[in-house]
Every structure is written in C-alpha cells, then in structure tokens.
C-alpha cells in the first residue's frame, strides 16, 4: 500500500529528507575511498573532501609490502568453492525433502532446521579440536568443511522446488525418466531465481565471514580479506590511508555484486520477513 502524499510541500520535504538521509548513509563509503587516496592520512593529516595530492600509493603498499594479492585470491577461492558446494548440497537435499517421501522425513527436516538455531560460538571450540585431530588446522579444507551444508540454503530451495508443478515430474516419469533425470532436466531449470538468490547469499556469507576463518587460518599466506584487514589495523595504527585502501578492496566486490543482483538480494531478505 502506497499512501499519497497530500501536499506539494510535503512531497518536497519528503524528498529532501530521503536524499539527505541517503547521503549520510553513503558518506562512510565515500570517506573510506577519499581517505585511501590521501597520502599520509593519519594522526596529523585530516583528509579533505578532495585530497590535495590524490594517489593510489596506499594500494601499492598493500600489494607490495603486504600479501594482498594472495589474500584476495584466498577469499575469492574460498567463496567460490563454498558457493558451488552449497548450491549442490542444498539442491539435492531440497529435492529429497520435496520429492522423495520416506519414513521419518518430517523428523529429519526438523533436525535440519534446528541446526540453524545453534550459534557458531557454541561450536567453535569443539570444531577447533575436531579439525586439530584430523590435522586440518591452517588448511583451506579446514576453513571450508563446516560451510559445505547450509540449512538456510536447503530451506530456501525446498520452498522453490515445492512450487514446481508436479505434473512436470509425472510427465517425465511416463517418458521413463528417473529421479536423477527429473532433478537435472526439470527441477533445476525451474528454480533458477532461487538458485541465484542462494548463490549471492552463499558468496556474500563466505566473503564476509570472520570468526571461523580467524580461528582456523592462522598463517598469513592463508588468510582471507576480513582477517587480513583486522590485522592491518594492528600494524598500520596511524596510516589510515593503507587501512582504508584495504577496506575498499574488501567492499568493492560486494558492491559490484550488489549492484548487479540487487533484485535477488532485496527480494530474498524481504520474502523472509513475511509469513
């Protein structure tokens, strides 16, 4: 429901308020960028809205003095693998919960959902011990394994699979197709929007995740962006241009993805809020 704004003045005031608010919201992003191109920004120099000698030296520092090329590659690789595996495990589980009836399915699904309620913090210590036993601390695999199945993803895709008309499956069954054929040639092509939403959320979740990678990936060459960024802060306590350049690098890919896929992201969030 969209209410009509009654008066012309009201209309103008509303627009000014919304625009000023948006500027305030956007300012930290702008300031991050400006600081990153202000050489020597720190305790003594306060950046101005437009720096006197803009330079990308801080970015150079990150890629020459710090292993940022490696760090970005790590983040990208982990996010891609997590996303691909989650798409696979979520889609297959969604198919089972929607199309393959078996005894105790309701209970199994309830257990799946219950895993979403368990905070990561409760799992951190035993996970750490578990991976230590298997010698997986400080390995990419150790960082990846706990992200391979996502109850949220399974839930999201199950909703989508449920909406694919069953007549399609039945027609395919009559043509002699088995479950694997139905899954690949009927279900997957029909849930593309949900797959797109999950792709974005899985990538975003991995790219931004902090606590688990912080614990598992201890050596500098294995670190992901958020961890390296937190580390920069400790090392360049006064060189804000360098720290801000790191922030820009970490935020930029998400901004690009967001601009590209805004529809799926906002719909994904909005639909979760309505019953």
């Amino acid at each position: 429901m969209r209410e009509r704004t009654t008066s012309r003045t009201g209309w103008v005031v509303l627009h000014i308020a919304v625009i000023l608010g948006a500027l305030a919201m956007f300012f930290p992003f702008l300031w991050t960028f400006i600081t990153s191109i202000t050489p020597g920004a720190g305790f003594s120099i306060t950046p101005r809205l437009w720096p006197e000698n803009p330079s990308f030296a801080a970015y150079e520092t990150l890629f020459t003095e710090r292993p940022f090329a490696r760090v970005v590659t790590n983040s990208l690789m982990l996010a891609l693998i997590t996303t691909i595996v989650q798409l696979f495990t979520s889609a297959t589980a969604a198919y089972a919960f929607s199309r393959l009836p078996f005894r105790g399915r309701g209970v199994v699904f309830a257990v799946y959902l219950a895993t979403m309620m368990i905070p990561l913090q409760v799992l951190v210590v035993p996970l750490f011990a578990q991976l230590k036993t298997f010698g997986l601390l400080n390995t990419y695999l150790g960082a990846l394994l706990p992200t391979f199945a996502s109850a949220f993803g399974i839930f999201l895709l199950r909703q989508a699979v449920n909406q694919v008309p069953r007549e399609l499956d039945e027609a395919a069954t009559l043509d002699g197709a088995g479950h694997f054929r139905i899954f690949f040639s009927i279900i997957l092509p029909n849930i593309k929007p949900a797959l797109a939403t999950l792709t974005i959320f899985a990538f975003m979740g991995s790219w931004n995740s902090f606590l688990w990678p912080l614990i598992v990936l201890r050596s500098p060459e294995l670190q992901t962006l958020p961890i390296a960024l937190a580390g920069l802060q400790g090392q360049y306590t006064t060189a804000w241009d360098v720290v801000m350049a790191g922030s820009v690098i970490s935020v930029l890919p998400m901004l690009a993805l967001y601009i590209f896929a805004q529809k799926y992201i906002i719909q994904g969030v909005a639909s979760s809020g309505i019953k």
């Binding site: 429901m1 589980a93 309701g106 905070p119 959320f201 902090f210 960024l229």
Partner: protein, 317 residues
C-alpha cells in the same frame, strides 16, 4: 550464523508436513529407492552431522572438563559452570551484551520504521534510494568497524571535527570506557538499518489499502491511522525484526573485536568476545564451552518467551 539463516527458521514455523503423497506405495519401494534417497540426502546430511551435531554434543562434554586445547582434558563435573557463576566477569559480559542490545534495538527499529514509512510513499527513484540505504548490509563487518573507528577517531575523525564546528567538544568514542559501547551501537545501527527497513517495507506493502480507507471514513486522522492500522498490521514484521535482532544481538562479536577488542578496560567486553578470549588467550576451553552453552540457553529462553508472548501483541491478518 548469518542473519539470513536465522530469519527463515523463525519465520517458517509452519508444521513440518509431508507435502507429497507417495508416488508408489511404500512397500513396493525397494533398496534402489533407498539408494536414491541416500544419494540426494547424504551430501548435506554428512556435513551437518559432522560439523554441527557432533560439535554440539562435544561442546557439552568439553564444558565438563578442564582443558587448555593442548594437554589432556580433565573431568571436573560442573566446576566450570560454578566458577563462571561466581566470577564477576560473567555478569559483566552479559551486562555489556545487554547494554548493546538495549541501545541498538530501539535505534535500528525506529530508524528502520521511519525509513520504511518514507520509502513507502510515492517517491521518485524509490528503489535507488532503497538501494543506498541497504548498501551497508552487504559489506563485511570488519570493513565497517574499521571505517567507523576512523569516523569516530577522537583526534581528527569526521564526527568530532563536525561537532567541533558547532562548538561541541566530541568525546573520546572508542578510546574511552564510557563511550566505547555507544560507538559500537552507532556503527551497528548504521549497518543494519537497511535490513530492518526492507523487512518493514515488505510488511507495509502487504497491508490492505481498504483498511486505511475505512479508517478515513470513520474520521481517523493520520496519527490514529498509524497507531491503529499501521502498527497492528505491521506487528508480524516487527516481531520478526525483534526476534532476529535479539538472537544476533546476544551473539555480537565481529564489530566488537574489530572496533575495541572488548576494551578499553573491559568496557565493551561482550559474551562472545569472552568466549574467544577464554579459549585462545587464557587456555580455558572448558570454561569457554560452558559459557557458550550458557549463552545458547539464554538465547533459547529469550526466543521461546517471545514466541509465547507474541499472542498478546502480534496480529496475523
């Protein structure tokens, strides 16, 4: 656990029912069918069992032991819980976490509501503005925390500079015990405002316009319509925001770690930061596990109370 993971689990509380009638009578399905089910289910069941269910149980076991992550565990029964309850730091970290929630939730809810109401009107470029307000939601907490440390820098940060222009001597923000938590709350509200806005906006758009027309016919003014139509009709979305914010609020960590590390002088030490420190700084993994179970119990209790209490104030259309 991410925000989005939690959302769905709470929203869809519909009873888990079988949605399909069996294609064939169960008796006729043989081992081949069993294999098919296993093939589709195991890729998700194995990781969930190994990396959620098993650690969940072993966390309970570890909480009954003394353990520094290196030498062998020593069974101590409930000692860890007894020690935690006697330790004044436990009350302090729960207190700080509560402080965070009490400051954050009203700010982000009222802010998100005002935004949602504004963007629900006939506005030029609505989705563009909505997009801008939502931007911080997709960025990493570490980047956001770092940027806010810079904005709130007591020496030459933007906020204190601007305050200086109007003659206000800005506080020390994250460098000062009294202001460390407000700094974290401010940054958190900025980051999550867009999330709350999108949820509430979806709720507003689901309200039947006839209700407003009926209220107008009855002579209700703008405030009365807001109070007696908008707020009650929005209550399911509000409920959702409150439940999610409380769950996430009790688990607050990333921003604290990156903005203050729990300091200065423990003034922003929250529960999860304490779990982290106990494990990796003080080598008290048993106590950390006990504390994490206490946190889980609190979250569960708070969530259950809200789900029971919702009957009193949430109106489902």
């Amino acid at each position: 656990m991410s925000v989005s993971t939690l959302q769905t689990s709470l929203v869809d509380r519909a009873p888990v029912t079988r949605l399909t009638a069996p294609v064939r009578p169960a008796a006729k399905r043989g081992w081949r069918y069993g294999l098919t089910v296993a093939a589709f289910l195991l890729p998700s069941a194995v990781p969930l069992a190994l990396f959620v269910l098993v650690p969940m149980v072993s966390a309970a076991w570890i909480s009954l032991n003394d353990w520094n992550l290196i030498t062998a565990m020593q069974f101590v029964g409930l000692d860890n819980f007894v020690e935690l309850l006697a330790d004044p730091r436990t009350a302090a970290v729960f207190g700080n976490t509560l402080y965070y929630i009490v400051g954050y939730l009203p700010l982000v809810y009222v802010g998100g509501l005002i935004l949602a109401l504004a963007l629900n009107r006939a506005l030029r470029g609505r989705s563009f503005w909505r997009g801008i307000y939502f931007l911080p939601v997709v960025t990493s907490w570490i980047a956001v925390a770092i940027v806010w440390r810079w904005l709130l820098n007591p020496n030459n940060g933007v906020v204190n500079t601007v305050l200086g222009w109007v003659g206000i001597d800005g506080p020390g923000w994250w460098t000062e015990p009294a202001w460390s938590m407000p700094s974290i709350i401010l940054a958190s509200a900025w980051k999550d405002l867009g999330f709350v806005m999108v949820i509430l906006l979806a709720g507003l758009q689901a309200i039947n316009p006839d209700l407003y027309d009926a209220a107008k016919v009855d002579g209700a003014g703008a405030w009365t319509r807001f109070r007696h139509v908008t707020l009650p009709m929005l209550s399911p979305s509000t409920f959702f925001v409150v439940v999610i914010s409380l769950i996430n609020g009790f688990q607050v960590f990333d921003q604290v770690y990156a903005m203050t590390g729990g300091g200065p002088a423990g003034s922003s030490q929250v529960v999860v930061q304490q779990i982290y420190d106990l494990t990796f700084r003080y080598g008290a993994a048993g106590e950390a596990s006990a504390l994490s179970w206490m946190l889980f119990a609190v979250i569960l209790a708070v969530t259950v109370v809200q789900i029971i209490g919702q009957k009193r104030w949430v109106h489902y259309a």
